[in-house]
């Protein structure tokens, strides 16, 4: 078994996933070194889950080469899965068992002795701050709690690699922050995190490096900062005009800032100096209902690269 600590944990070369004629993942190249937090950022249908399922060895590779821990999922799936933790897009907790039993049973799937499962379950429930819910059934738990149980359960085999498919989608802001905090701690402990998200703030918080995915292809790769610097001016001026008049108002703004995007609900002007751009808008006599200057984000990178918003 290759245990070279410098070798990448995941290597994908021209990875393709097809469902019939439909191409869900269209020849992506990815390399994830040990200890890194790596993200797939992209809108719904980009092929993030399809990629994660191939890495998780629960979906055969259609074409290309994939290695995890240096092993081939086609022949060593069982061995790869035994060293990895998976948080799927939808929680798959066992509704017929308690929180604690969910964890213990999962450990048993990995052939971990029952007493050890119990010990780890206790420790992990403490880690996700759910000790008082150990004896609870799954059903009464909130969405955020279920997600935390799923994460705790995925750690029962002390995985070297943790796959998280949209870990916080559908959760309220507070629950998301609790989760981010826990994931950040895991990262500090040296667990390699691979996650998908369509939230730019999540990607910025958690990922050392990420790829932007769209329609099965990778359209950009780098650290969040690198991507923003490379693909978007430093600041963004967001202007809102009365409903339905964005298009005509936008034409008054020719030449303001470096670039302009007209969205259904607002006009974005990219500029190195947002305040200066706003002053120019006012000088031209344009009167938006509201104006806001903010820093460029991954959302803007995505818009720039694909012409579409991440979340619609």
């Amino acid at each position: 078994m290759p245990t070279d600590s410098n070798a990448p944990l995941i290597t994908a070369e021209h990875l393709v996933k097809r469902f019939g004629d439909f191409v869900a993942v269209d020849g992506i190249d990815v390399e994830v070194p040990r200890g890194e937090s790596f993200g797939f950022l992209g809108p719904n249908g980009a092929g993030k889950s399809s990629t994660m399922r191939m890495i998780g060895c629960v979906s055969p590779v259609t074409e290309g080469r994939l290695r995890i821990f240096g092993l081939d999922p086609a022949t060593d799936g069982k061995q790869i899965r035994s060293r990895m933790g998976v948080v799927p897009q939808m929680d798959q907790l066992d509704e017929q068992l308690t929180v604690e039993d969910n964890m213990i049973l999962y450990g048993r799937y990995f052939d971990i002795p029952r007493a050890e499962c119990k010990r780890r379950a206790k420790e992990l429930l403490e880690f996700v701050q759910l000790t008082d819910r150990a004896k609870s059934k799954i059903e009464p738990l909130s969405g955020g709690m279920k997600r935390r149980v799923t994460i705790a359960r995925s750690l029962i085999n002390e995985p070297e690699l943790l796959l998280l498919d949209e870990p916080t989608t559908g959760l309220d802001p507070q629950a998301r922050h609790v989760l981010w905090d826990r994931l950040y701690r895991l990262k500090q402990r040296g667990v390699t995190l691979v996650l998908t998200t369509h939230y730019m703030d999540e990607a910025e918080q958690l990922c050392d490096r990420l790829v932007v995915m769209d329609q099965g292809k990778i359209v950009a790769m780098g650290s969040p900062r690198e991507l923003i610097e490379k693909h978007s001016p430093r600041e963004v001026l967001e202007l809102r005009y009365p409903a339905g008049t964005n298009d005509e108002r936008a034409s008054d703004l020719d030449g303001v800032g470096n670039r302009r995007e007209v969205l259904p609900d607002r006009v974005l002007i990219y500029a190195d100096d947002g305040e200066a751009a706003l002053a120019e808008v006012h000088r031209r006599g344009s009167r938006p209902e509201s104006a806001l200057v903010r820093r460029s984000s991954l959302e803007d990178v995505f818009l720039r690269l694909t012409g579409r918003s991440l979340v619609d």
């Binding site: 629960v58 979906s59 899965r81 799927p88 066992d94 017929q96 308690t98 799937y109 052939d111 085999n157």
Partner: protein, 270 residues
Amino acid sequence: MITLAGLPLRIVPVQVMQATRPHRMLERQWMVNRAGGWMVLLSGFFEPLFYLLSIRVGFGALVGDVEDGGRLIPYAEFVAPALMAASAMNGALYESTMNVFFRLKYDKVYDAALATPLTSGDVALGEIGYATIRGALYSSAFLVTMWALGMTSSAWAIGMLPVAILISFAFSAIGMAATTYMRSWADFEYVPSIMLPMFLFSATFYPLSSYGDWQWVVQISPLYHGVAMTRSLNLGEWSWAFGGHLVVLVAMALFGVTLTAKRIERLLLP
């Protein structure tokens, strides 16, 4: 599993050959039942008692003896082994249809298991194994009741138990395989329309000979082969046909397990 090299390697698919942890699915059931599911199993113990009492007290007195294979036997002793075979089938199908469907589509138990070192073969064998245990429990209760009511005809009757386990296994396997094709709960409405005729027309209540030219229809029914075996064991009478019935049930079991493992792979590991 290499010890089974040769013949089984060719019939049994790779998914099943590589199953090394099917017992984890049994462990799951044990944990679920420990949390309060034993009552469902218990209910299965009362059914045979009611059945057998009704036959012993009612039918037995009215019908008298039946001729089967050139020998006269009391009706109760004729019917009881057939009902035992049917109870193995029922227990197996209760578990391997609706309950499996719930775990497959709603509880996502198998999706969760397949993300771990467990494989489609483990899930198929483990779940079929549990349904088999349920069927076997029902038929054990049946056998004990039969014996207590004096409806066993020979010491060979104890051999009905392994046969009932085989019946249960074969029907669990076929039941789970069929369940993987179900799209919604509505599809389960067809299950009784297959089970009831099979229960009634598997030479359960009258000998095969009474079907005349239609015997072949009865012989198509998988339950018939189970009934023929339990009946011959109860009487302690042997014939070459026994081997034939055995082959039919073993083939059914193998086919069901194989198909189930492949279907799970297709549904859950696309």
